[in-house]
Amino acid sequence: MNRSYLGEFEEIILLAVAVMDGRAYGVAVMHEIMEQSGRVARLNQVHSALQRLEEKGMVRSALGEPTAERGGKRKKLFTVTAYGQRTLREIQEVRTSFWDRLVNPFKLSISE
């Protein structure tokens, strides 16, 4: 496995950034995660994960326009890089291949 290791939380964040498609910034990502997964994410955790992802080259950032509800401060908007997208896809492929090889898929139709 020659790609960078991605933590579970980082993976969620990266997915969130991908889903939000150009509108991803600290607080928004935090809310998205809380809504989608119900887990509590703290802002500083989100920020440091985004920072790490940026250092690894999976996201890229740009400053947006200042808004009033932010006290006149600009947003730092994140988008997923090609490398980030490839990484997400690889993770997805690895998982799918494991799921496919599962003999008895636990009767996972409980939700239905």
């Binding site: 802002l43 400053l63 600009r74 730092k76």
Partner: protein, 865 residues
Amino acid sequence: MKQPPRLAENFLKWFVAPHLLEPIQGDLTEEFYYQLKTVGYRRASMLYWCGVLGFFKPRYIQRQSGLNSPSPLFSHPMIRNYFKVATRHLLRNKTLSFINILGLSLGMTFALLIGMWVYFETSFDSFNKNGERVALVMKHTLMNDQKNTSSSLMMPVYDELKNNYPEIKHISRLDWGSTHSLVSKNRKFKKQGYYVDPDFLRIFTYPIIKGNAETALREPNSIVLTESLADAIFGKVNPIGKVIRIDNKYNIQVTAVMQDVPTNSSLDFEYLAPFEFKVQNDPDVKGSQTRWNNSFIGTVVEVNEGVSMDALSKKISPMLAGRDPYIKTQTLSLYPMGRWHLYDDFKDWVNTGGQILFVRLFGIIGAFVLLIACINFMNLSTARFEKRAKEVGIRKAIGSQRRQLVIQFLAESLLTVFLAFFLSLVLIQLLLPFLKDIGFENIQFDFTNGSLWAAVLGVCLMTGLLAGSYPALYLSSFLPVKVLKGILQQGTGTVNFRKTLVVTQFFISIMLIIGTVVIFQQISHVRSRSIGYDLDNLITLDASEDLVKNYDALKYDLLNTGYIASVAKASSGMTWVNNDFTHFSWEGKDPGSAVTINVVMTDWDYEKAAGLKFIAGRSFEKRYATDSTAVILNESALKLIGYKEPIGKTMKLGDQDLTIIGVTKNVLMQNPFSHVKPGVILFNGGNVNAILIRLKDQADLSKAIAAMQPVLNKYNPSLPFEYRFADEEFGKKFRIANQVAKLAGIFACLGIFISCLGLFGLAIFMAERRSKEVTIRKILGATVTNLWLLLSAEFVWLVAIACILASPITFWVMTKWLQTYEYHIEIQWWIIPAAAMAAILVALFTVSFQAINTASLNPAKTLRS
């Protein structure tokens, strides 16, 4: 609308790295407003706090490094830039930079020299390990209604102290140093040494190179040499155990060699010999062992640890009471070693001050000169402020921060200061040889002394920061908009400050000029006073035992050389007096008064050798056998005694009747600045300390000396042939006065120079300020002369004010100073206008340079800007 908690926000701003701050702050604020709507203000605030604290992690706190940080004050390229710009500025105004550096370096040279001198003076005797427990015993007496203090004691004091005071750990007598002949094989020396007790080497921790300090002075016939004397006598041979013949009489053995006495030692000698040797061989000393009325030795003690010096001093104080019936009031005290050098003055029995006064005075003057030099430096730096102001404006406009400008200006001043410092090191090396005779003979800049360097560099840094602070803070505060528009005025406050400074500097300079002139006049006045004898062609020899023994033959042979007019022996030479007697009495003397009279003892031909001038009577003559009880008075003595017709009358010395046979003019033998004290000449050929030789008027000096040499070698075989000229000896009495005069002269020159610097800075400033005015005047027809007068008049006024202020004060101070001398001049009135004129001329010259420069500028150039 409610705001996020201010404190939390400020805290966040403070700790989060600036480049991360904005999105974080924005996110937190956004979250706060979101929570405000959902859960209310209190919970939102609390959550905000939690959010802020969540970011309190190294990841967010650590500042970004590298070139992109917003204020690279001390990055390598910036520092290089600061100094590059500073160098360019120095090179652009070469004259100004030169004057600036020279002025500052003179101030620094002066301050450093004084600092080194103060350090040397305060280090006296500090090499002694037990210094704080060592003291000299002093004797206080009441004589002639005067309270005198002396370090000369009677011999029994030593025994009393040694035997009865357990507080004393070590005690040693010392004679106050005397010169003796030392001969080893064919090498003859005449050297100064002390006779001391064995404890001396325990009290004073002079390092011993060879031999044992404990036993070195135990045997009476032993001697401890200093290293350089041992080298001179024995060369490379080990001197321990070698025999030296002293005074051509006794053989003594070298028992130890010690390091040369350091220059910062109060006691100075080249060898030590046991006091017991003196007791055994000198009948006078032996006879004085139990006498309470013959003071001639010093006594130095080291007290035990834990003993209070003051308490012991009080305890020994009454020891002398009732010992000498002639002197009723006599006490003792201890004089601690720490005070020997700096507090060497006793007034009314109290140890007052002395040298410390000069140390403090010069210390203050040194600091003051440095301060003035710094202020001048500031003035010269700010003088061209308009030009610099534009630079500041442009720098600020293209994004320079104030802090960078401050550092820029400080770098400039530091560069100047360090250039000045290196120049001052060169100056110190050049100047030191010329300062040898005013107390700097033992001072040198020790380049290996780390703490000295640290101190000096510290002073430089301080000077640089101090001198650079004003331009740095003032110039960097300009608003770029105003500066670039050209509306910039320095307040009148700074102008007045500069003017005050110039007046103060000239005030001091004028005082120093007048002071110097008065001191020189006083010295030349005293030098030319009538001294009552003939200084020229008079040679003095120290009387050795051999010379005294062979005196008659010596005199005969000397007269036979043909170069010599007369020879006499006396108890003292012409430039000092060895004896004061208190037991004279005469008709009408107030029995209660204690009077001392100087006494010279001699036999025949003294008046011829000395060239005395008689007002009445005659000198001793061989044909009168009764002359053995004759006495000759000087004018002061006659005045004291009060006889109308003195010749033939008698007075008494103790119980002996003396007949007055002559009266001489006053002979100045002691302090030339005092009145001549009452003195008498007694007929006594037994007390001889000097031999006076009068050369014939036309005698060729070198031939006369050559002719004398074999005669003296014959009769004085153990001593090298040494002689002194009376006029040179007399000149030595002016050593201190000459030092003062020289110092005052140096101060005056320095003062004038520094004042002119200040004036020059002010002139440049004013010239620049008024350049447009001058140009317009010129266009309207003013000549260069008109303009020169216009620009100079202002400064001449300042100097005139300084003159008017300085004159009365100087007059008062110098009158007071002159009154400390009994024999002094009155200040002549013309000195003051002369000094004032000199100051004004110098000032005019300084200013004219700048004034004419400005006046002759091309109007087109000045007005174009």
